[in-house]
Amino acid sequence: MSDKNTALFCLESLKQAGADKAQCVLTNTEKHEFNVDCDKLSLLRTGYDTSIKFTAIKDGRRGTASLNGCARPEIEKAAASAVEFSKASPSDPAYDIAPAQPAKVFESGLAAPDLGAMYDRLSALLAQARAKYPRLKLVQAIVNFNRKTEYFLNSNGVDFTSSTGYYDGSVFFLSQDGKKTSSFNYSGFTSREMEKELIGRVSIDTLFRQSAEQLDTKPLNGKFEGEIIVTPDCLINFLQFITAMALRDASLISGSSVYKDKLGRQIASPGFTLHSRPVSYEIVDGYFVTPDGFEAENTTIIENGVLKTFLLSLYGANKTGLPRVSCSAGCDVIEPGDKTLEELAAPIKKGLLVTRVSGNNPNESGDFSGVAKNSYYIENGKILYPVSETMISCNIPKMFMDIRGISKERVDFGSAVYPWLSFGGVTVSGK
């Protein structure tokens, strides 16, 4: 039975089990992964999987089940379980599946990996890192090839097939000199090709160089309110309060979101524009179909600081009466500004270049505090030296309303495109 026919069989099994509304998503994945552990290539890993997710709505009640593998008896059992589980649910008119849309087949990226190129690039990374940064320890480095084909069907007639194939990779490293060890750092990328050297991708070379510098850090004394420049690698730590928490279902349904009354209003400084672009070429690992069964569209979330949309799913939209977002976020692209990194630093009397943070999860208000790791002290416009044991505290919604500058240069991670941002009003505490 072909995968498409298996997916159709899954949908039919849900209907046969009694679902009024049925949805199934069959996903085939193939992964080829090279691993470096402790400066040595150590493992080649291959994984194949088929997973199937079932959603059943019966009498306004919803249940879900999932399994992997394609055995017919198991599929029938899982479909029956989803319907059975729905009986445990209260009836809720917000439970629904996507309406009919024209059937489509989407395809992007690569069909197969070039294992030789993956091996060569990773070997070269080890050699180049050893030669250029002798004190660097590559604790772990991974290069993957991922191929995924997804069949999304529902009983309203949704019929999407999407296939994607791409490489991704990550590095996790520190520097060591005798008894001195620097803080670890990491970065990652997503790509359609495996020709370019890994050390030249995203911020890897810069972060390797900084790692050696960070063997000798200085603590800061005292406490001050200043500005911080957040690097593209670190920005997600602050941005995800907005995109993964405050604009999402849970915060808006519970009414705890600080942005619940802010649609169409300013939530960031003018000049800050954030898009989610799952179907643009600049995003390598995007998606064509949302988890609730809609064809995904590129969406502007914040435009010149004004909130253009919440990030509500179909369920969240039905529950709150607010509009559903036309994507499921991620795939962030932030518009560039007009400053160089030097120009961002120039007006800062006292502050930090923040490259990584280790801290708490922001609460519902967006209060955040944590240690600025792998970070540098800035004084009178100059980036001076790496710091240790330095904490930053801030309120993320206030930070985004106090953006002092956006760089014109951006880092294209393949999964997101971010510039450097400088923010005011951050409390910096030394020892």
Partner: protein, 458 residues
């Protein structure tokens, strides 16, 4: 699931291993009374790993039949050969350390249906909604995770384990002066739901305790920033043991340059501090993450990391033990069927001392009792940052105002040298999911710990 893979042993050559695994999750979540999650998932299959002269090949696929066994073994062998042909490490075979064990911790009671589980959560939710009407929000969730594994390798190891874990978590929200305030707690233990929980009413006092925490937190103050004399509760002692000390002593991270690389045999803590990663039994009681034979077929033993303040051992897999010339500890664990085993902690704890908590509190003139964590991260240097859920000021040996929360940080091997008292009791947390490449359950525990710790300011 098939419990014995020995029939496939004849297919294994050189050093190779085969693992059949299924992870089953139940997930029920109520948000303000709305059932937002109501389902179960299952993901399983076979994996094989093959060693060739220092190069590893790994492959996985769904299925449990002999054809899939042959398929994953062949793919893993191809991968090992691909790497070996290029790397030419020429390393000797790994030491033979056969182990075997069978441990099934499934309940002997009748399993509850999904409806009974939803009803259980709904009754607790209804209790909260009825009694605490002023709340701005509430969440009640039930999660179950069954990890079932069967294993065989070419050195004669074979094992089977079925380890269930059950969790019930409650979160409450309110507002104080327009600012959201949150409190949460959980019950989490090894065992199926039927063995961990009895009836909803038995949890009402647990729920009342969360509301009391929320009320105190809403009225609470933020602590002063700076280095303070504090008492960490058992939860914080546990995350300190796991995040800030444990990770630096995993042998792969030691080889990667963690600070512990230069500390073996050195004093790293007060002489009263003992810290162990337990395999399956601690002080005569079963642990939450029992590992008898690890996912490399090695008989699991306790890793005594700190003994009387001195760093005495790392945690090892087969390969790192050979590298360091140390006894293997059986710390190799894989999360999903498709994951390769990595060096992972199991049940990591600071051992209790001889002090009474009341005496510890009365010995603090101006400090804090810090309780519960919201998250924790640590560095290769043993520098750590933890979010603290709440606690109390301690003034002149007595609890004073409640705390709303805090962030604490420091360097673990410096903090441990400031430890002056340890409570005589200890408790465990089983809810942790350790995220080193793969997300896997890990237990952590400890006594109350009196020490100096840096508190972050606002």
């Amino acid at each position: 699931m098939k419990k014995d893979l020995k029939e496939y042993a004849a297919l294994l050559g050189g050093y190779s291993e085969l693992r059949l695994q299924e992870n089953r999750n139940a997930n029920i979540s109520l948000m303000n009374g709305n059932l937002v999650a109501n389902g179960q998932t299952a993901a399983g299959g076979l994996s094989a790993r093959v060693y060739r002269n220092g190069a590893w090949g790994f492959a996985s696929a769904p299925g449990a039949d002999v054809e899939t066994v042959k398929k994953v073994l062949a793919a893993a062998a191809r991968n090992a050969e691909f790497l070996d042909s290029r790397l030419k490490k020429g390393l000797p075979p790994l030491p033979s350390l056969p182990g075997s064990a069978v441990h099934d911790l499934s309940t002997r009671k009748n399993r509850k249906s999904q409806k009974e589980l939803v009803d259980f959560a709904t009754e607790i939710d209804g209790y909260i909604a009825g009694k605490y009407k002023a709340l701005k929000g509430r969440r009640v969730s039930i999660q179950g995770l069954d990890m079932e594994k069967a294993y065989v390798n070419s050195y004669g190891s074979s094992s089977y384990s079925m380890t269930p874990r059950s969790t019930l978590r409650v979160v409450m929200f309110t507002e104080k002066d327009g600012v959201p305030v949150q409190a949460s707690d959980y019950v989490c233990s090894v065992g199926h739901f039927e063995d961990v929980f009895s009836e909803p009413a038995a949890l009402f006092s647990f729920v009342d305790g969360i509301y009391e925490k929320l009320r105190r937190s809403a009225e609470g103050v933020y602590p002063e920033a700076g280095l303070k004399e504090c008492i960490l509760d058992a939860d914080l002692a546990g995350i300190l043991a796991h995040e800030a000390v444990g990770h630096t002593t995993e042998a792969d991270l030691v080889l990667g340059g963690s600070v512990s690389a230069g500390l073996m045999g050195k004093v790293v803590a007060s002489p009263m501090v003992n810290l162990t990663d337990f395999a399956h039994t601690c002080l005569g009681r079963p642990c939450h993450i029992p590992v008898y034979v690890d996912d490399e077929g090695v008989t699991a033993k306790d890793a005594v990391i700190i003994k009387d303040g001195v760093l005495t051992s790392y945690m090892h897999n087969r390969e790192s033990a050979a590298h360091f010339g140390a006894a293997p500890t059986g710390n190799a664990r894989a999360s999903e069927f498709s994951d390769e085993p990595l060096i992972r902690m199991r049940n990591t704890a600071i051992l209790p001392g001889k002090d009474k908590l009341a005496d510890m509190v009365s010995s603090v003139k101006d400090g804090y009792y810090l309780a519960g964590w919201t998250n924790g991260q640590a560095d290769s240097t043993s520098e750590f940052t933890f979010g603290v859920m709440g606690g109390y000021e301690i003034k002149n040996g007595k609890f004073a105002r409640s705390l709303r929360g805090a962030t604490v940080s420091g360097v673990a091997f410096e903090l441990l040298k400031t430890v002056t008292m340890l409570s005589s009791d200890m408790s465990w947390s089983a809810i942790g999911m350790c995220g080193k490449k793969q997300s896997i359950p890990a237990a952590m525990g400890g006594p109350a710990v009196k020490c100096l710790i840096n508190i972050g300011g606002r």
